[in-house]
């Protein structure tokens, strides 16, 4: 008992908890828009683009945070473009970007000092491995993104871009702003927590919340609670039972989303 309590109170776990809490709040809130805008796989593709940035940084000795963020921002600018889907679907382009940058990440990492171990870290990540000096960055990002996201205009542009344009909103700029925030978030945390965890935070808490809630604001609140619950409980369970932290948090987020899906189905069944 005292062993795990000691581990829980260790600076390593407390740093991971701080990062996890901020990430849970920011990413799950952003995830509501990612799911509603049907751009879930843009999140995965951006994370992969960003991972390639980290692999390149390790290979040539750049700052991985800077490189990941620049790659993610470039990817965001690319995905924020509107293009005709007459000849090729957007989905196919997203898939192509994901595959291209997956290959690039492996190729770059294979020539790096740590080889495939580095690829494994970029994919699965380990929130417990966050260095103390990296914790403060994520707080700044969290405040910035959360502040910028409290905007009704994102909702209008996501729901009905044409009417937003008719009302005088420069929807292209709002789209850019949204993708830049998404890319900025992914770029900032990819080398800390890995691709799978950030992707999970963007999708799973929002999914469960949107199934359960009847308003965007309440869905955002529930998504944040889902993510926080999974983060804190996941860290605790992984410490007590000596389990991989990322997988434990993801499994909990999936379980919460599944429970909310069941609750939503039960509610709609009883209201018939």
């Amino acid at each position: 008992m005292s062993d795990w309590l000691e581990t829980w109170q260790s600076p390593m776990v407390q740093d991971a908890l701080r990062v996890g809490i901020v990430l849970a709040i920011v990413a799950s809130y952003l995830g509501i828009y990612v799911v509603l805008k049907r751009i879930v796989f843009v999140g995965a593709a951006l994370a992969q683009v960003s991972a390639a940035g980290v692999a390149l940084a390790f290979l040539v000795g750049w700052n991985p945070l800077l490189s990941a963020t620049l790659f993610a921002l470039a990817g965001s600018l690319f995905f924020a473009q509107s293009w005709s889907e007459r000849r090729m679907s957007r989905e196919a382009v997203i898939g192509a970007v994901f595959l291209t940058f997956s290959a690039l990440t492996v190729l770059l990492a294979s020539k790096g000092a740590h080889g495939m171990e580095e690829v494994q870290h970029l994919l699965a990540g380990d929130i417990l491995a966050v260095a103390p000096e990296e914790v403060w960055r994520i707080w700044i990002l969290g405040v910035l993104v959360a502040f910028l996201l409290l905007r009704k205009e994102f909702l209008l542009v996501a729901f009905d871009a044409e009417t937003a344009q008719a009302l005088g909103y420069r929807t292209r700029w709002w789209e850019f702003a949204f993708y830049l925030m998404l890319g900025g978030l992914i770029g900032a945390v990819i080398h800390l927590v890995g691709l799978v965890l950030i992707f999970g935070y963007l999708v799973l808490p929002a999914m469960g919340a949107l199934l359960l809630c009847r308003h965007v604001a309440s869905a955002a609140a529930v998504a944040i609670v889902n993510a926080l619950l999974a983060t804190v409980a996941g860290l605790l369970i992984s410490v007590v039972f000596d389990l991989p932290t990322t997988a434990t948090i993801l499994a909990l987020m999936s379980a919460i989303a599944a429970l909310e899906g069941l609750a939503s189905a039960a509610m709609s069944h009883s209201s018939r």
């Binding site: 905007r151 205009e153 209008l156 729901f159 009905d160 044409e162 009417t163 008719a166 308003h215 965007v216």
Partner: protein, 256 residues
């Protein structure tokens, strides 16, 4: 005659190097009920986007009167009903420009949005989710949102698409009422000829990259419509209604 709300002068419309419409001359006057028709792909959407200010003309001049406020009603099918938004949430979007960036809509905006819902007969479903409403109710919500802008020009894109006959009549009745009682200027875009001809005081028909403007009597002529749609048609009048049928069908009917 007063100055037009919107004036198109020798306007050329298109995308990049692709010209869709040429030499568009069009005046929308205060109090007009202007109907725009044309076959699929004839440039209705392009002209509409330009009227809304979303698309810039390739050449020519578009003049908008000072204080012009456009309430836009998009096609229902363009909106994703999975968004967890109530009827009131959606109507409130029409008040966003008044609230300003960084600010939430105020109490007065909410009250005004409720009034708009009342105007279209939907006050009782204000807190119902958009996805739980019928097609006709959704159309009314979108009209209420356009009214929340406090427009002097209401632009509707295919408002009767996918509606059954009574609902279509009710929506058109509401639009006519807004025109007659509230004095709103209306631009109605539709591919349903008889709907536009029944209600519009002036019509625009798109033909081979050009816009022909006139009243219903001038444009609802067999030779004009045959040229527009490229098929032989028969036009008949029944009270205030025009009935347009492709000739083979009409002949089959008259044979019976």
């Amino acid at each position: 005659m007063s100055d037009p709300l919107v004036r198109f002068q020798e306007v050329q419309l298109g995308y990049g190097r692709q010209v869709v419409l040429e030499n568009v001359q069009l005046d929308i006057f205060r109090g007009d009920f202007f109907g725009l028709v044309g076959p699929n792909g004839s440039g209705k959407t392009t002209l509409l986007r330009c009227l809304l200010g979303i698309l810039k003309p390739l050449s020519g001049e578009i003049t908008r009167s000072a204080g012009l406020r456009i309430g836009y009603v998009p096609q229902r099918e363009m909106l994703d009903p999975r968004f967890p938004l109530t009827a009131l949430d959606i109507v409130l979007m029409g008040r966003y420009p008044c609230a300003g960036v960084f600010r939430s809509p105020r109490r007065a905006d909410r009250d005004f949005a409720m009034q708009c819902l009342q105007q279209v007969g939907l006050a009782d479903v204000a807190h119902k989710l958009y996805r739980e409403l019928s097609g006709g109710q959704r159309q009314r919500v979108l009209i209420a949102r356009a009214l929340a802008v406090e427009p002097n020009l209401l632009v509707l894109d295919e408002p009767t698409n996918g509606l059954d006959l009574p609902t279509e009549a009710a929506i058109l009745g509401l639009i006519e009422q807004l025109h007659a009682q509230s004095g709103l200027t209306i631009v109605l875009v539709s591919h349903v000829l008889n709907v536009v001809a029944r209600y519009a005081t002036r019509m625009g028909v798109l033909l081979d990259g050009r816009l022909l403007v006139g009243d219903a009597e001038e444009l609802m002529q067999e030779q004009v419509l045959e040229e527009v749609y490229g098929v032989p048609v028969c036009v008949q009048r029944l009270d205030h209604h025009y009935i347009v049928a492709v000739r083979e069908i009409e002949e089959a009917c008259s044979d019976e």
